[in-house]
């Protein structure tokens, strides 16, 4: 089977007939023109009528297929070989930090021939790519998953929680979890609830610019995360990402208060209705929050069950209330509403909501404003919804409320017990006071 990644149709047939593989040095002749270069793989999503050639100058070009085209193999592919630079020496006496990888390419190498990016996740690879880590902590790396962020599910949260527990048991003084950024906020919230009585910090970290590019935020974020895991005075689950567009400060956001608020920027992660708990600047952890759970030597308690029969519903004008009915019919056990303003949905929803509560579902209210807290006593609608049994969830983020309800239902034996957990501040998901914050871009 020749390696002709991405090639299809008549062009593939021609390449097969000519006995060439991706990576080979080839000559292409067509209509009196001659091209020479290395055959590159074709993107699966691109058309099937061009072959991609890497010219000797390093540039790629596409050459259009023609029936009269001739392809000759001039030389065999050279397999790229990774010769890692010498590893930095691990200093003794440093705190032990465990790095658990779940996916994303926070540390990777680029194959300059195909442009492919390969994850580098062994401790050796990590240290060779970010040698600074060796001066910060005694790092040990494990691969748990290789998942895109959008493919992470509740079972993976349980897996992560168990892995963290295992690492803490074997002496880790801090744990770093590398994660794709899209759903990192959900995972951070999940672990905030699942890891009870946490003795050491657990730091989620990702990158918004892949690490194959020199401007990547991956190394700076990772260095910040490992610094926090090794030296932060708190024992909480946080997300470590750029605080601003500059490479100078890594913010540590509480796992239940953090949200990805930008599609692409380095400073995409924001603490909502809270300030970051701390930041890492010039290699040191600077505390911002005064109120935090300190490191301790207590016994970690694992509560890692999640019930996925919970939905997060955003109310909007024209919302069809039978969606709520459908969830009840499907056997859902909880609904988090993202209501308007202080926490409202239209009166058309009253009937279906009444039915949901009657059938034992927990229905919680959050606000699509994100900033601020719900208050269901100000307007009639809010009071009526409370009467129906909709639970106001204060200033909790809608995503955090979803994860928390999945967890509360997973670890409780009754609706009442779960409801009681929802009302209690477990991991900083509620704050008592809303402080004035200037909104930054």
């Amino acid at each position: 089977m020749p390696n002709l990644q991405g090639y299809r149709g008549p062009l593939r047939e021609l390449l097969e007939r000519s006995g060439v593989d991706v990576g080979d040095l080839i000559r292409v002749e067509k209509g009196g023109r001659i091209y020479e270069g290395y055959l590159m793989p074709r993107l699966e999503t691109a058309d099937e009528w061009h072959l991609v050639l890497k010219l000797r100058s390093g540039y790629n070009i596409g050459v259009a297929y023609e029936p009269s085209m001739r392809v000759t193999r001039l030389g065999a592919a050279v397999k790229p070989e990774f010769r890692p630079p010498p590893l930095p020496e691990q200093r003794s006496g440093l705190p032990k930090v465990s790095i658990i990888s779940t996916g994303g390419t926070i540390a990777s190498r680029v194959d300059y021939i195909t442009g492919g990016v390969h994850a580098a996740i062994s401790s050796r690879d990590l240290l060779s790519i970010v040698p600074e880590l060796a001066d910060i902590a005694l790092v040990e790396a494990d691969i748990l998953y290789s998942l895109f962020s959008e493919n992470i599910e509740a079972q993976h949260w349980s897996g992560m929680a168990r892995k963290v527990a295992e690492k803490i048991k074997s002496g880790a003084e801090g744990v770093v979890i590398t994660h794709g950024t899209d759903t990192m906020g959900y995972s951070a919230a999940a672990l905030s609830f699942a890891l009870r009585n946490l003795p050491v910090p657990v730091i989620f970290v990702g990158s918004q610019r892949s690490s194959d590019r020199p401007s990547s935020d991956a190394a700076t974020n990772l260095i910040g995360a490992v610094t926090a895991a090794a030296y932060a005075p708190f024992a909480e689950v946080v997300v470590a990402m750029h605080e601003t567009t500059s490479d100078t400060s890594i913010a540590l956001h509480r796992g239940t208060k953090v949200r990805k608020c930008h599609t692409s920027s380095r400073y995409a992660f924001r603490s909502v209705n809270a300030r970051p708990i701390a930041r890492v600047v010039k290699g040191r952890v600077e505390m911002i929050a005064e109120d935090y759970r300190p490191r301790g030597d207590g016994e970690l308690e694992l509560q890692d069950r999640f019930d996925e029969r919970v939905a997060l519903i955003k109310f909007h004008p024209g919302f069809n209330p039978s969606l709520i009915e459908w969830l009840v019919d499907e056997g859902y056990r909880g609904i988090i509403l993202e209501g308007t303003g202080l926490g409202h949905v239209s009166s058309k929803c009253y009937g279906p909501l009444r039915r949901a509560v009657k059938e034992g579902l927990i229905v919680g209210m959050t606000s699509q404003c994100l900033w601020g807290r719900v208050n269901m006593n100000v307007y009639t609608t809010g009071r009526e919804l409370q009467q129906i049994g909709v639970e106001p969830l204060g200033d909790m983020l809608p995503e955090t409320a979803l994860v928390k309800l999945m967890w509360a239902l997973g670890v409780s034996s009754s609706r009442e017990e779960a409801l009681e957990l929802m009302r209690r501040n477990i991991a900083g998901e509620y704050s008592d006071r809303t402080l004035y914050e200037e909104v930054r871009p």
Binding site: N60, R109, V110, Y112, D212, S215, S246, S264, R266
Partner: protein
């Protein structure tokens, strides 16, 4: 010294980079313009050389990173968005820019590629926020003719311009990202150019064809040349950033000279019996104690700062460090460039120039004794922090080893006088990989047909047409075609009833002579130039006022020509104002009028004109003056 370039096997290749005049940048919708004000915001980044599959890291890039270089970027909201900040993926490739490149390709008979693939070319000096430059080949081959000789082109690329370097100090580099992302066409010739003057002519010829597209930006820094220069037995030297076309010739001449002299030095070293192994194991020696009492200010300052002085013996190099390679550049200068780059010291001193710099003969003698220098050896000293001194002298030693071999392969940058300085070792084959955020673009037959049908005329055709259609003489026609204003000239000449010769003279000779006087004519925008001729057409401005108005506009680039007239007091006088001035002049000179009668017209005309020049039409002055004189004469008679 006259060099026979053919005999020394001079080969020059040119890379001409020209900014394109598009509505927006190459991968985003920001306008392609620069800002002069203070930045609205800045941000700080570091670039980390990424590792390839081969485990190789560009040594110079790694070195810069390890030095802890931080980059401060300056920006404002008008000229850049998140794309330039590397905070948002690039948008699709600018179609307009691609069309301009394809047009140029068709004009020079190059073969457009069937599908354009955007690449990332690693550049970690900070000039690109991403750490790479986005670039793509648009066409291959093609040729131009220069005085009957064909010069082949290798490729035509479309790429994004880099950020502008504003300052560099103490490990912090400042760049402004307004220029980042402006589309650039890069035209690469084969290394077939055989002499400095031919290099200049080829650069001009490419520039002319680029301008013939009518779609290129003008002004300082909008066109830049890189040169690849080698001679037989020498090395391929890449010289970056020659901004002035007229400097190309000098740069080639000096580089050929430099390589020739370096080959002579290598020959001389060999004839002195120097072997590579003689340069092995030479170590820098701390000689600080010899200069405790020195009167040399440079050394004293370093010692006061607790710095050290280190020396290195270079066997059999005596007399060679001071030998001139090209004007003002010696082998010693080359070594100093390396010492500065790798050691961060301020420079070197060597025995070919000592005693000197207030270093006494006794100190030199002691120095030579300390490092066991024999007659015929040279000694190099540097001052500064100990580790830096050692690194600097290690770099000097490396340069000495290379001197024995001949010409080291390096990347150099041009100085304003046409000489060059070392910037870094020549990188291996450019590390390029696909820009996966930009989809490849097929070039359809239909698109090429459309462009082929609308090809602009080549410069020679245009020359003939300008002479015929606008009645320009050949010299003026050539000047306007060689200038950056060809398209603007034609636009104004077509739309306004103003003498085309006046327009052409203004846009060439007048601007050039103002520029020679130091006026920043590149700051004057097209709109202001259009307005000047519009005012002339309306009779609201005299052509004599043009130089003053241009000078004022260069100093006030955001103002209009009408404002210039007002500020300079060059607005045309109304008929009433003119009559009043002339009446007053006649009364002032009433004696003259009485004496000479109508023949007083000549001298009076001169006196009136010296007062109203640039503010009144001479024909109108003449007419009013004649009438008023005859009226006044009647009055005298009566």
């Amino acid at each position: 010294m006259k060099i026979d370039y053919e005999a020394i096997g001079l080969k020059v290749g040119l890379e001409v980079h020209q900014e394109l005049d598009t509505r927006h940048k190459l991968f985003c919708h920001c306008p392609p313009k620069l800002f002069r004000e203070e930045p609205e915001y800045t941000f700080v980044r570091r670039l980390r050389p990424s590792q390839s599959e081969l485990g190789e890291v560009d040594p110079a890039a790694l070195f810069e990173f390890l030095k802890g270089k931080t980059i401060v970027y300056e920006a404002n909201r008008e000229t850049s968005c998140l794309v330039e900040m590397d905070e948002e993926p690039p948008g699709p490739l600018n179609d307009e820019a691609l069309d301009i490149c394809l047009t140029f390709a068709l004009m020079v008979g190059a073969q457009p590629v069937d599908e354009v693939h955007v690449m990332r070319k690693i550049v970690v000096d900070g000039s690109n926020t991403t750490g790479f430059q986005r670039t793509c080949v648009v066409a291959l081959g093609g040729e131009i003719e220069v005085e009957g000789k064909r010069i082949h082109l290798e490729q035509i690329c479309l790429e994004e311009d880099a950020a502008r370097k504003i300052a560099e100090e103490g490990g912090v580099v400042r760049y402004r990202i307004d220029r980042l992302g402006i589309p650039l066409i890069e035209v690469t010739t084969a290394p077939e150019i055989g002499s400095p003057s031919e290099a200049r002519k080829v650069a001009h010829a490419i520039g002319r064809i680029l301008r013939a597209t009518g779609r290129v930006r003008r002004g300082l820094g909008t066109i830049r040349q890189d040169l690849n220069i080698s001679i037989r037995g020498g090395a391929l030297i890449e010289i970056k950033g020659v901004q002035e076309l007229d400097l190309v010739e000098k740069v080639v001449e000096y580089e050929a000279m430099r390589q020739l002299r370096l080959l002579e030095i290598a020959e001389e070293l060999r004839s002195r019996g120097l072997k590579p192994e003689d340069l092995e194991g030479l170590e820098p020696v701390d000689v600080s104690d010899l200069f405790r009492e020195t009167r040399c200010r440079i050394l004293r300052r370093e010692l006061k700062r607790k710095g050290r002085i280190y020396a290195l013996r270079l066997p059999r190099f005596g007399g060679l460090l001071g030998r001139e390679l090209c004007p003002g550049r010696r082998l010693g200068t080359e070594m100093a460039d390396r010492a500065k780059f790798w050691g961060g010291v301020e420079g070197i001193l060597h025995t070919d120039e000592l005693p000197g710099y207030d270093i006494t003969a006794e100190e030199v003698e002691a120095l030579r004794r300390r490092v066991d220098a024999e007659p015929g050896d040279a000694v190099v000293i540097v001052a500064g922090e100990a580790e830096r001194c050692r690194r600097a002298l290690k770099a000097v030693l490396e340069r000495a080893v290379e001197a024995l071999e001949g010409v080291p392969s390096e990347t150099r940058a041009a100085n304003p006088d046409g000489t060059t300085h070392y910037t870094r070792p020549r990188p291996g084959p450019a590390r390029m990989y696909p820009e996966t955020d930009v989809v490849s673009i097929p070039i359809t037959e239909e698109r090429l047909r459309r462009l082929r049908e609308n090809l602009p005329e080549m410069p020679e055709e245009k020359l003939r047409r300008f002479m015929e259609e606008y009645k320009l003489n050949e010299k003026l026609a050539r000047q306007i075609i060689d200038s950056e204003y060809t398209a603007l000239f034609e636009e104004i000449a077509r739309s306004l009833k103003v003498s085309p010769t006046l327009i052409a003279v203004t846009l060439t000779e007048t601007l050039k002579s103002l520029s020679r006087e130091g006026v920043r004519v590149d700051l004057i925008g097209d709109d202001a130039l259009r307005e000047i001729f519009k005012l002339i057409e309306e009779g609201a401005m005299m052509k004599e006022a043009i130089p003053d108005v241009l000078t004022w506009l260069a100093e006030h680039p955001d103002s209009t020509a009408r404002e210039a007239l007002r500020e300079l007091g060059l607005e045309l006088l109304s008929r009433e104002e003119l009559e009043a001035i002339i009446k007053a002049k006649i009364e002032e000179n009433i004696k003259l009028l009485k004496e000479r009668g109508p023949r007083a017209f000549g001298p009076l005309m001169g006196r009136v004109m010296s007062e109203v020049r640039g503010r009144a039409n001479p024909a109108e002055v003449q007419e009013i003056l004649r009438t008023l004189i005859s009226e006044r004469l009647k009055g005298l008679e009566g």
